[in-house]
Structure formats: structure tokens, C-alpha cells
Symmetry: C2
Subunit: 578 residues, 2 copies
């Protein structure tokens, strides 16, 4: 990971690859790399789909090592959905493979003339960019099937489906899992449309002949990793809840807390919640010969993923995540896991963000395009996205655009990005994160649910305003750092609660790079990343006025707690004061 | 004009009318009234289509008098297209009639439940609001025909077509002309969608039994009006160019100046310009038994409007304005006046802004939905708007949304509103207005073309940056004042060049209200209006970063002058320093 590759897709005479030492970006990885490159090199007023935008792909600081949980790949750019800087990360195999090949970042620049479609092959011999128009408008599953016939099973694939090619604002970038299913997505912010604008359909990552990245202090690294894994295994969330039920363990929890946004944020409890729950899902998966406990990348010890089969035992999709089960389920008044699984497959196949897509369908239901609870209607709407019809293009543009096109007042977005599966009125902390993060509404940016609801890392009353800004601030700083390491964010549950597990993480970083690493260094890294992102957004025209929730959260109380969001603007505006 | 009526469309038990003295808004009219009411009473973060927004309808300070040119009606609200405050004004008969009935403003508030559609009847006995679901989804021409059968020919009508009912962001509010054609539109900013959100389909204004508003000093008023009319008649623009050729006199002028944006702003000269010109249009109208010289309201001495017939001598539409001929013509590479006239009729009928609609079709052509120059294709696209299909809804949402839905990089909008018919690269002054006005891209807000191109009110070189900010500032201040008087903006040509005509305007205002009126008072009024608007926008989240043109104007030079827009950000940011 001592090189950066730049691929100028708009070079005269065809795409041109250049390589350079990491230079000024030395030591960065993951979100720190993508955000600092974008903030440094992209004009803040650049059109996100234009030649001036860049798509920065970066494995985490510890990706490609024998360290556990280090499989996150970051993708960064100026977002066509939000207009802000964007970092979107995914699991799967891509980060590990790219890191082992030796690239700290691959940066797609420029924009080709014409409508040729390209694939990029990255291996030990370097980088090749080839025209392959036979891939045009293939969706992710058939695309990967076709590429496997050419490049085999021992590689990792990144790709866009038809949505990315069509430049839809909800388009994602898919990364393959260990079984080469295109199920792990850099979902948020329309990063797939940026890849599509650069006319890159797929990236084939082949680490044949490459080795694991060696730590400076191998023994200390091994020891730290052992303690780190022990810590994850002993924490109830990472050792029990997530392995058994996946992220969908949250459905019952949030529904009981009255914070489960139902039928486009009209109430906080879904009467069909139990039917969607992780418990029900795991039971169904096991009964049908699927698997509720599976890792999205090699080296994962949490194994929160799974396999969802149909009633005949045939693969439908990977285990839908909590956010997906919510967005396509309760948010649309749908309590049918089979329908949700089918839509999860469609999202992965077309290459769209499941959160944006499900929220959009709920908004479309408010516009009368289908009834709440009508799963066949929801699937019919989603099919339009895959066909690229005018209606499909509207829906594929996300919730905000759909709301504007259909004149809908209640559109749950911040900075153009759909809200995830937690209502900010009964859970005020997550509202602060939605409003203030540099990314548009994003739960992962500062997961206050941990402390508001799960009581991890302390206990801050979700119904009160006190302490929420401080909580969100600290979580946002920690998250920006974790997103830079290549570590899965779920390690946060264990490191927030268990000082020895946090120390093991510090030791993993320290022993790998041969430096002394303290908690203060992690905080400094997080602040550095957030500051770069915030500065980019400021230069792009964002102000405190954009750090607000949609107005209905301030004016319309929600059952059962009958509360509005009430953290004051003044307090929210202190989030970046550190 | 001593009363304000408020109609709460969302009142329990049905719409409720209340009346009050003008009170704190005494002395205001037109844009001053609409903008100051909106800035005072509407929450800056209100959803434009929600119950919190208000639609303020106000005749000008001199409307309803015997003064010439006083027929402009202002409509104001928070705009669903731009998110800014919005004042959109139109000619036709409505302003005169409403003023004579005695209302300084009629304010539509709240939002009804259910899908009943309402009409409002305003006459000497007061205001009645009635459900009339027989009007649902009627377009403006058949709607007015139906209403005429009930309310006759001696009234004025305001109405929305299907686009307003469907809450399209390009929806306008139509006002009837003296012959009761729904041809004069408050076009910009989606004001028709706000009326549609309040479920008001039509307003019937009947001044039977009412008199002309009496001046305080009738003799002085009569004298001033005579001098004012003389001034308009002797100025070459208002006395010759506009009466003979209408606003479309500008096509040849702008094409010769290289500032006529062609095929979605790709070049500044349209080879088919002569075929679209006002000269060609007037000749065609006369030959077919139409009329190139017609007033949009009684009391107009400029008569820049006209009647466009087909080759069989049957009425097609009113004479399309320069902006419309450009947006549906050169902007789309179309040089066929018959096609333009047909689209002008369709726009008026559906109730959409001709500028927004034509620019949007040009953007759609860049997306490949039709070829540039394909008039049948353009008409086909526009038909979708009238049908309310998904594609029609996208197009009816305007250029910015269409660009996002189709992934188009080159979208000529400021604050979400489409640019009018003047390229800001060869005419830098108008670029300053587009960028900095409180209204989103709007030529009328500070018509620098006058001084940059027509050499009215001085001579500022359009290709240079010097003096443009000062020019735009002064024009924006003057315009805000004129838009408050009820006077047609075209009087500006004469009052900018002829001090005695400006004095006559001051005397009209002074003698009517029985006050001493100076040039400084006009400037103070303009500043007061602009300040209220700017303050609203600031509270709504707009900053200097939004006072910019789309980036391609700064990066892509345009033929024939091969220039980019180059007034510096720093200088633009001084526009409101006074």
C-alpha cells in the first residue's frame, strides 16, 4: 500500500493509468484517504457527474493484513445525491485484495467522450483499462456471472448495475462477498452514478502472487489480534446478538422503543414488526436451509451476514440487513420477509442503495403510487427502476426528487439523502447525527442508537435533549477514525464498552505501523477526517442551515412517545466545536 | 385597497374568510406587499406545499386607477421550485379588478384535508369559497370557457391548469386578458403549485358596482398620466419597437450580439434566428389576420402583445413572448414559429412557465429524449406534461430536476430556476442578476440587457466585468420598486432614459397618495423590498455560495465571443452592500 494509481478516463486517446508514491497521503487509508483526497483535489463546485469529480477507492489502513474485521473498502467523491463530500464503505473481499496488490488508493478521474463502457483489471502486473461493451446494461448478478467466466473465482469484483450506468442518484457500487455474490454495497450517496459517469462498469481485483501485508512487529500484532477477537466474542452484541440474528436483531428492539418509523414516519411502532424481526428471519433462514451466520469477508469473527433462501431452498439473496428490512418493510407498511428479500435482491442486482430505495417507495406510497402494505405494488415500482422507465428513473433518483416530482410534503431526507431506520423524535441523539454529519442523513456516521437505546458506551436518555450533541460528536469522531482503519464499524460495540478491546485495536495499529498509538491519536485522526469533510462542504455552499432535520420532525409529534425533535439549533451548531 | 382578506383553506369545517384593515402593511402593493407579508408571516423553513406557506395576491399601488400601465398583479409565497421567497407578476385584468374591489391583498393560508377542489368568488359583497369538483383537472382554456358560462364576460379570472393541480414545480397562475383568454401568467417559481396545494382552482374577480380608485389630487394625477404616456410614446423601445414587434423584437438583437443561447447554451448565435424574429412574427401575424399590436390589459399604451393565428386564420395563442420563442425555439434548435406558438398555447393551457418548460425540453434533448431541432419531438414531450405521466411530471418539475433524473451535467439554473434567454458569458451584467437576485435566475429582476445591449440607461460593455455589479444592483433596486407600483416593467426603458418621464411616474404616485414622492423614495422602497426578500432567503439557508452561476459558465467559453463568465465572487458578494 505504498502506491496510488490514477486512471484518467478522459485522457485523449483513451484512458491513461499513472502511478505515484503515496506522498502527501502517506499513512492514510479508508475514509481518511478518500475524504482527504477529495477535499484536496476536487473543486467543491464541480458537477458530481462531470470530469472534475474523482472517485477515490481506498482499502483501510489495516486491510490486507491478517488482522480480523479489516475488510471495509471506502469509496469517496462529491456526491450527486447530496452535493456534499461522500464516503461510502462496504464489506466483501475488495478491500483485502486491493490492499494486498499494494494500492493505498485507486483514483478514477476525468470522463470519456462517447458511450464505450470500460472494465479495469488490477493485479500484480499493474492496471489495465479495456473497453467491453458486451457488459452494457447488465445488472450485477448476471454481470458477475459473465465476468467469472473470464476472470474466475479467485478474484474480487467491484461493479455497477444498470442503475449506475443510468446515472441514478441512488446507484451503489457492489463488492463481491467470499462466494462472489455482488451483495456488499457502497450504497449511500450515489457513488455508483459517479462510477457510471466515468463509464467504468467493473473493476476486477486479482491478488494472485501477492502476500498478506506484513506488520512491523509481527508478534505484537498477532497478540493484539488475539485479544481483539476475544473482546469481540465476549461482548453480547458482537458475540451473540449479531452472529445469531444479524443486524436485524434491531427490529424488535426499535419497535419496542417506539422508534421504528412506520409508513413513512407516521408512527413509531409497526404492528407487523415481529414478523420482520431478526428472530423470525433467522428461524426462517435455518428452516429453509439458508444460513443466519455468515461473514461478508474472510477474517470476520462477528458473522452478522447470512443467506436467505426461498421456500424451495433456493438462494434468493444475502440476509437482508436491518435497514433494508425496515426500508422495504415497516417503512412501507409491509410485514412480509419474502417480499423484502426479493426487493433486497433487486436492489443488489440493479445496484441501488436499499435505504434510499425503500424510503423512496414509502414516499411514492404517500403519493398514491401504491398502497402502504402492498408488497406486490412495491415490487412493481422497484421493477421500473431496473427497466429505467421514466417512473423508474424518478424513483432511482431517491426520496427527495420523488417527493418533488409528486408534490409530497413529508420527505424524510437531510441534505438530499434518505433517513435510515430510526425516528429522531423518540431517539433524539440519532437526529443530531442525521442533521450534522458531513454525509447527509446517515446512521453509521455517529450511531447514537448504541448509547440511546442499546446502552453501549454509556446511557443517554433517548427522549431527552441533554447530552445528545456531545454523544453524537464523540461518536462521529470515533467513527471517522474507525472508517479509516478498514475495520467494520461493528467493532465499536466492543471497544466502547471494553477498554482492553480498545487497547487491542490501538496495539493492532501500533504494531502494524511500528508506532506508538494512543486513544488521543484515534481522536485526532477522526477530527482530521471530519474537519477535511466539513471544510469541503463549507466550500461547496453548505451552512448551519443545512444541518437541520426536515421541518415535520420539529412540528409533528409521533406516537407512542408523542414527541417532536427538540435539540435546539444553537446546540446543534456546536457539534464541530472542539 | 384598505382591506386585507385572509382565506384559511385549512380551517376546521371548511375554508374561512376573514377581513382586516391593512394595518402594518398600509401603503404597500404588488411585490412590496407580497414579499413583506411572506417575509413577516411565513416560516422560512416551511414546506412550500404545506399548510405553513401562504399565497399572497396583491395588485400594485396604482392598480385600479386611471393611470396607464398599472395592470400588474403580484403573487408571492415561498417557492417550491427555488426554496427562496418568490414574487411572480403578470398582466391581464386581474390586478385592476381586484384593486377596484378594494383588496390590497388576498392571502391564501392553510391547506384543506381531502381532495375537494375550490373556487373563490370575490366581488363587492365580499368573498365566497365554494367546492366545485366539476373543475378537476381542467386545463386553463376549457376551464375559463366553463367559468364564463357561469360568471360571464365582465369579470377577470385567475386559475391553474392541470399542472398546478398536480403540484408541478413549473406550474403557473393564469390571469385572463381583456378578451378573457388565460394568457397572462405569473409564471416563475411554481406559484401555481402553491395555489394547487391549497386546492384553489380558480378565483373569479368581479368589480361590478365598484369605481376607479380616486387619487388624492385628481388634476395633478391626470396631468402626470398625460406626461407619462407621452414619454412612453416618444421612447424608441416603448413607442416603436415593442408596439410593432412585441418583446420578440429582441431575437435579432440578441442573436447579433452573440448572446442568444442556442441548443442548451452551446453557442451564442442561432442560425435559424431570423425565422423566429419579431419582424418575421409580426409579418406572419398580420398576414394571417392576427394582430401584432395588442394590450394585455386595458390602459396599456405600449401594446406589446398580439394575436397569433394559424394559416387558416384561426386563433392559436397570444403572440408568444421573446422568452418563449427562445426557450421553445433557439434553445431547442427549433426555428419554426408555428411549433413555438403551439407550445406557447400548450404551456398556457396546462399552466406552466414557458421559460422553465422550454429550458427543460432543451435539457431533455441533451439527455437524448428528442433531437435538437425536432419540433414534433418537443411537442410530444410537452404533451406528457399535460397528461401527467411520470415523464410529464419530471419535465413539469423543471430543468434542475430533469437534469438530475437523467444525469445531465449541463443544466442552466440558479437556485433551481431556469435561466432566461440571455447568455451570461457574452453579457456579464445579466449573469450578475441571475446569480444574485433573491428570486433564482430571473432576467426581469435586474434587466441588465437594457444597458449592456440596448444602451438604455447608459452603456456598460457587456463583454467586460467592470460596472456590472453596480448596474445590476441599481436595476434590481429600481425593479423591486416598479414591481410594487403595479406598473409594467417596460416603463423602465422610458424612465431610465427620460428624466421627465421618471418625474411623471413620481407625480403619479405622489398625487395619488397625496404625498411628496422623490427618486430617493423610490430607491428606499426598492431597498426595503429587496432587504426583506434577502433576509427571508438567509433565514431559509441561502448564502453567498448560492449566488453563483452553474459552474459550466465559469469553465466553458462560448462562441462567438469565446468568453466565460468572469465577474469575481468577491465582487458579486458586494451586491447587497448599500
Amino acid at each position: 500500500m505504498d502506491r496510488i494509481a490514477r486512471i484518467d478516463m478522459g485522457a485523449a486517446g483513451g484512458p491513461k493509468v499513472t502511478e505515484e508514491p503515496v506522498g502527501q497521503y502517506a499513512g492514510l487509508g479508508g475514509r481518511a484517504m478518500t475524504s482527504i483526497v477529495v477535499a484536496t483535489e476536487v473543486h467543491p463546485l464541480a458537477h458530481p457527474l462531470g470530469a472534475e469529480n474523482k472517485l477515490v477507492i481506498s482499502p483501510g489502513m489495516l486491510s490486507g493484513t491478517t488482522g480480523s474485521m479489516t475488510g471495509r473498502l471506502s469509496v469517496g467523491c462529491k456526491s450527486p445525491l447530496t452535493g456534499t463530500i461522500k464516503e461510502s464503505n462496504a464489506g466483501g473481499q475488495a478491500a483485502q485484495v486491493l490492499a494486498r496488490i499494494g494500492y493505498a488508493a485507486v483514483i478514477l478521474e476525468g470522463k470519456p467522450e462517447g458511450d464505450d463502457l470500460y472494465k479495469i483489471i488490477i493485479n500484480k502486473d499493474g492496471i489495465k483499462v479495456e473497453v467491453d461493451n458486451s457488459l452494457k446494461l447488465l445488472d450485477n448478478y448476471p454481470l458477475i456471472e459473465k465476468l467469472r467466466q473470464e476472470y474466475g473465482d479467485k478474484v474480487a469484483y467491484m461493479s455497477i448495475g444498470s442503475a449506475g450506468e443510468r446515472l441514478m442518484l441512488a446507484a451503489s457500487i457492489a463488492c463481491t462477498d467470499p462466494e462472489l455474490r455482488p451483495t456488499r454495497h457502497c450504497g449511500r450517496g450515489g457513488v455508483g452514478a459517479v462510477m457510471g459517469a466515468k463509464r467504468v462498469k467493473a473493476i476486477i481485483l486479482d491478488d494472485e502472487g501477492m502476500k498478506m501485508r506484513p506488520p512491523k512487529d509481527a508478534e505484537k500484532f498477532r497478540d493484539a489480534n488475539r485479544k481483539f477477537v476475544e473482546g469481540l466474542r465476549k461482548h453480547p452484541v458482537t458475540g451473540e446478538g449479531l452472529p445469531a440474528y444479524g443486524t436485524n436483531v434491531l427490529t424488535n428492539v426499535l419497535n419496542e422503543a417506539g422508534g421504528y418509523p412506520t409508513r413513512n414516519f407516521k408512527t413509531g411502532v409497526f404492528e407487523g414488526g415481529a414478523k420482520l424481526s431478526g428472530e423470525a428471519q433467522a428461524e426462517l433462514e435455518t428452516r429453509r436451509g439458508g444460513n443466519p451466520t455468515h461473514g461478508c469477508h474472510r477474517g470476520c469473527v462477528i458473522q452478522c451476514s447470512g443467506i436467505f433462501n426461498d421456500e424451495n431452498g433456493n438462494y434468493v439473496t444475502k440476509q437482508p440487513e436491518y435497514e433494508t428490512v425496515w426500508s422495504h418493510g415497516g417503512h412501507c407498511g409491509i410485514d412480509d420477509l419474502d417480499a423484502v428479500a426479493r426487493m433486497d435482491y433487486m436492489d443488489d442486482n440493479f445496484g441501488v442503495d436499499t435505504i434510499e430505495m425503500g424510503v423512496t417507495i414509502g414516499v411514492a406510497m404517500d403519493a398514491g403510487l401504491a398502497e402502504f402494505g402492498d408488497s406486490a405494488g412495491a415490487i412493481r415500482l422497484l421493477e421500473e427502476v431496473g427497466k429505467g422507465t421514466p417512473l423508474g428513473r424518478v424513483l432511482g433518483s431517491g426520496a427527495e426528487i420523488t417527493g418533488k416530482v409528486y408534490g409530497i410534503e413529508k420527505v424524510p431526507v437531510v441534505k438530499g439523502q434518505a433517513l435510515p431506520a430510526y425516528d429522531p423524535r423518540p431517539i433524539q441523539g440519532i437526529g443530531v447525527t442525521y442533521a450534522t454529519t458531513t454525509q447527509g442523513a446517515d446512521h453509521t456516521a455517529g450511531y447514537a442508537i448504541a448509547t440511546n437505546i442499546l446502552k453501549v458506551g454509556g446511557d443517554v436518555d433517548p427522549l431527552k435533549t441533554e447530552g445528545q450533541v456531545e454523544l453524537s460528536r464523540n461518536l462521529q469522531i470515533a467513527t471517522a477514525a474507525i472508517d479509516s482503519t478498514g475495520m467494520c464499524l461493528f467493532i465499536a460495540f466492543a471497544i466502547l464498552d471494553q477498554p482492553d478491546t480498545f487497547q487491542a485495536l490501538l496495539d493492532l495499529l501500533g504494531s502494524f505501523y511500528g508506532i506508538e498509538m494512543t486513544g488521543d491519536d484515534v481522536v485526532a485522526l477522526g477530527k482530521k477526517v471530519l474537519s477535511a469533510e466539513r471544510d469541503f462542504n463549507t466550500r461547496a455552499g453548505f451552512t448551519k442551515h443545512h444541518d437541520r432535520l426536515p421541518r415535520f420532525f420539529y412540528t409533528d409529534p409521533i406516537e407512542p412517545h408523542n414527541q417532536v425533535f427538540s435539540v435546539s439549533d444553537e446546540e446543534m451548531d456546536t457539534l464541530y466545536n472542539w
